[in-house]
């Protein structure tokens, strides 16, 4: 008998460990031979802890289950996926899952995340084999033709970035501050997923880390880098543990190291753990941190692609970007490009978070609307009250009102309404939210997380908190002149931060503030 229980951080927080223990104990009591596979999550969090039973007809799911369900679950499993109050059937037939386009997350929740053999048995490493059979320039061309754009938030064309590194390596453009002769270039994965409302990187690493390892190895082959680093935030202990185990297994199975898959090519990969600095999600701050310094933003140019880690040309991409690459190499650029709309090609793993009835991961081709996501997938708010605002793209993303819920998820469509998709996190708020408090929080967060290098961000954010506090006091007191003065000051401050900051932290903090002011003016208005 084979059962699958997730071990991702959210499932564990919802009690998956106790469920797994209860199943193992009950099986032992019955003298049953039970194979309990600890997978990642399928991403349907409201059904976690979820138990799946291997049957000839596919995996039959039960959820959410409690430890007390263990005896009845084992009865149902013994009956080949039999009846139980929590029986869901095959997840592939559950609308939330069925209607997704699972390219990147095809294996997450299905495979054992710590087993290279299981990954290979589920079609893994085919992209790497294709990459080993071709040239670096050809790999870069395929990624370019696929139209893949960086999934970390900036949406920069990945192929163009890789080509810049490839050309820089070929041109000997390198200014090394440390002599590390084994690698002329580096591949760095940004897994510092600090945006609230996002968890796709974590789910991928905890569910299918070999997709990331394979994607980074392909990037190494493409640009001629022999060393890669994955920078994972310290707030993700489960992801760190899973990735460390996966990297060790990849070495043991010969997928990493001096002789990748018997090709004679070298690619080494190392996990590095962050230390709780949001700004290290900015690529140059991340490189500083990897080099052992304060995570302070570097002035660009030079781009990391020209002069990155230890002064070498460096590919820096997000987890999902790398994990998208194996499918492109395996199926071809056209296969990937056929998903999506306009200049947003492929799929986006969307994360439904906050006050939402069915939170989780929805991987869809670009073009799905916010309303479909919030209502058809998310099922409305958890509290049952109307969803009044959503914040898309993390703490630097705009707050959007109901009137904009028909916006399709597409980089350009979001830019057109002064918002950004970012990393695809959607946080829903019901009608109890006070957008003035959210605007204040945006400034306070920036003040807490500013790296301190540039003045508009370092000082502006603190002044921003003070201005919003005075605005609130004027709102409560009904002091019209003072209110107008503070309102003008806030607009001015936002303008300064947007144009004067060195990176996106200070530059985009005005977005949630301004969108709150624009779309929810009643929350700032004088109290009658």
């Amino acid at each position: 008998m084979r059962l699958f229980v997730s071990r991702d951080a959210t499932s564990r927080a919802l009690g998956a460990e106790a469920v797994a223990r209860a199943l193992a104990d009950e099986a032992a009591r019955r003298g049953l031979a039970l194979a309990l596979v600890r997978t990642g999550s399928r991403g349907l969090f409201w059904l976690e802890p979820l138990v799946e039973v291997d049957t000839p007809a596919g995996r039959i799911a039960y959820g959410p289950v409690a430890p007390a369900d263990a005896p009845a679950l084992l009865d149902a499993a013994a009956a080949g996926g039999g009846a139980h109050a929590r029986r869901l059937g095959r997840l592939e037939d559950v609308a939330y899952f069925r209607d997704q386009d699972r390219l990147v997350f095809a294996r997450a929740g299905v495979v054992d995340p710590c087993s290279a053999a299981d990954y290979a048995a589920h079609g893994g490493f085919r992209g790497l084999r294709a990459a080993l059979a071709t040239s670096g320039a050809a790999i870069v061309q395929m990624v370019t033709d696929a139209g893949l754009r960086g999934r970390g938030g900036a949406a920069f064309p990945t192929g163009l970035k890789w080509k810049t590194v490839l050309d820089a390596v070929a041109g000997g453009c390198s200014d090394s501050r440390l002599p590390i002769p084994e690698s002329p270039a580096y591949v760095v994965c940004n897994a510092d997923e600090g945006d609230s409302g996002t968890f796709a990187d974590r789910l991928l690493i905890e569910g299918d880390p070999f997709a990331l390892i394979e994607g980074m190895t392909i990037a190494g082959l493409a640009v001629g880098a022999a060393q890669g680093y994955v920078y994972v935030r310290s707030e993700y202990p489960q992801a760190c543990r899973t990735l460390a185990a996966a990297i060790a297994d990849a070495y043991a199975a010969g997928w990493l190291g001096a002789d990748v898959a018997g090709s004679g090519r070298r690619f080494d990969l190392e996990l590095r753990v962050g230390a709780g600095a949001y700004v290290c999600g900015e690529e140059t701050a991340l490189l500083e941190s990897l080099e052992g310094r304060r995570g302070q933003v570097r002035v660009k140019p030079p781009l990391p692609a020209i002069r990155g880690l230890f002064g070498r040309p460096t590919v820096v991409n997000n987890v999902i970007t790398f994990a998208s690459v194996p499918a492109i190499l395996e199926h071809g650029a056209a296969y990937y490009r056929d998903y999506g709309v306009g200049r947003s090609r492929g799929t986006l793993p969307i994360q439904l978070a906050g006050n939402i009835r069915r939170p989780g991961l929805v991987e869809k081709a670009f073009g799905v609307t916010l309303r479909e996501l919030l209502h058809d997938y998310g099922g409305g708010s958890l509290s049952g009250r109307p969803i009044r605002a959503v914040q898309v793209g993390g703490p630097l993303g705009a707050y959007l009102p109901e009137a904009q819920f028909d916006t399709p998820l597409d980089y350009e469509a979001f830019a057109a309404i002064g918002a950004m998709l970012g990393h695809g996190g959607i946080v829903a708020f019901d009608d109890t939210v006070d957008l003035l408090e959210q605007a204040r929080y945006a400034m306070a967060f920036c003040a807490a997380e500013s790296c301190g290098k540039c003045t508009p961000c370092r000082i502006g954010s603190t002044r921003g908190v003070e201005v919003v506090d005075r605005l609130r006091a004027a709102r409560e007191a009904g002091a019209a002149a003072e209110h107008a003065r503070q309102r003008a000051l806030l607009d001015d401050l936002c303008e300064t931060m947007r144009h004067g900051s060195l990176c996106a932290l200070g530059g985009l903090t005005p977005d949630p503030v301004r969108s709150a002011l624009e779309h929810f003016p009643e929350d700032f208005a004088l109290r009658a």
Partner: protein, 180 residues
């Protein structure tokens, strides 16, 4: 003029001895072990600091000169890094550390009320430790559990979802009763 007599020890050796002396033997051993394990890695400072904090619960200020010397950095550089990152602490924490998520997704599910409840019932502010030494309260900005907040992380690896004020009180009671 007579030649200046040579010092009995090279200056560097003297500094190390002085630094070691300021640090209790067990702690010095942990710092040396961390350096031994990681000093060869490129950009070794963060891995070293993680290893020290994992072993001791914090990075003792007296360890900074040792680390600086071993990695050929200035003490200012080491201090700058320790103080920059929220994760590293320079004072010993309470027996248990509770990290409360303050980010937006958790706010949408009641984290602001939970935060007020936690501060009030524990009678401390963030970054402080209760008088009985049992609990240190830290803010955290996102634990990646954004679908099922409010989220609280207990110590290194025990994540809790959908934490109500009552559930928080239960976590606090358990932490107070549990061995460190």
């Amino acid at each position: 003029m007579a030649a200046t007599p040579l010092p009995l020890q090279p200056p560097q050796r003297r500094r190390r001895a002085a630094a070691d002396a300021a640090l209790p033997a067990a702690e010095a051993a942990a710092v040396h072990a961390a350096l031994e394990a990681h000093r060869h890695r490129p950009g070794a400072l963060l891995p070293v600091l993680h290893a020290v904090q994992d072993a001791l619960g914090y990075v003792p200020p007296e360890a900074q000169p040792l680390i600086a010397e071993s990695l050929n950095l200035s003490r200012a550089e080491v201090h700058g890094v320790v103080s920059f990152y929220h994760h590293f602490r320079s004072t010993p924490p309470g027996r248990h550390v509770l990290r409360l998520c303050r980010a937006e997704a958790c706010q949408a599910l009641g984290a602001r009320a939970l935060e007020a409840h936690a501060l009030r019932t524990l009678g401390i502010d963030f970054h402080q430790t209760t008088a009985d030494g049992a609990i240190t309260l830290e803010p955290v900005y996102c634990l990646g559990n954004c679908g099922c907040g409010p989220s609280v992380l207990v110590d290194a690896d025990e994540l809790h979802a959908r934490v109500t004020p009552e559930a928080f009180d239960a976590l606090v009671r358990r932490a107070r009763e549990a061995a460190p």
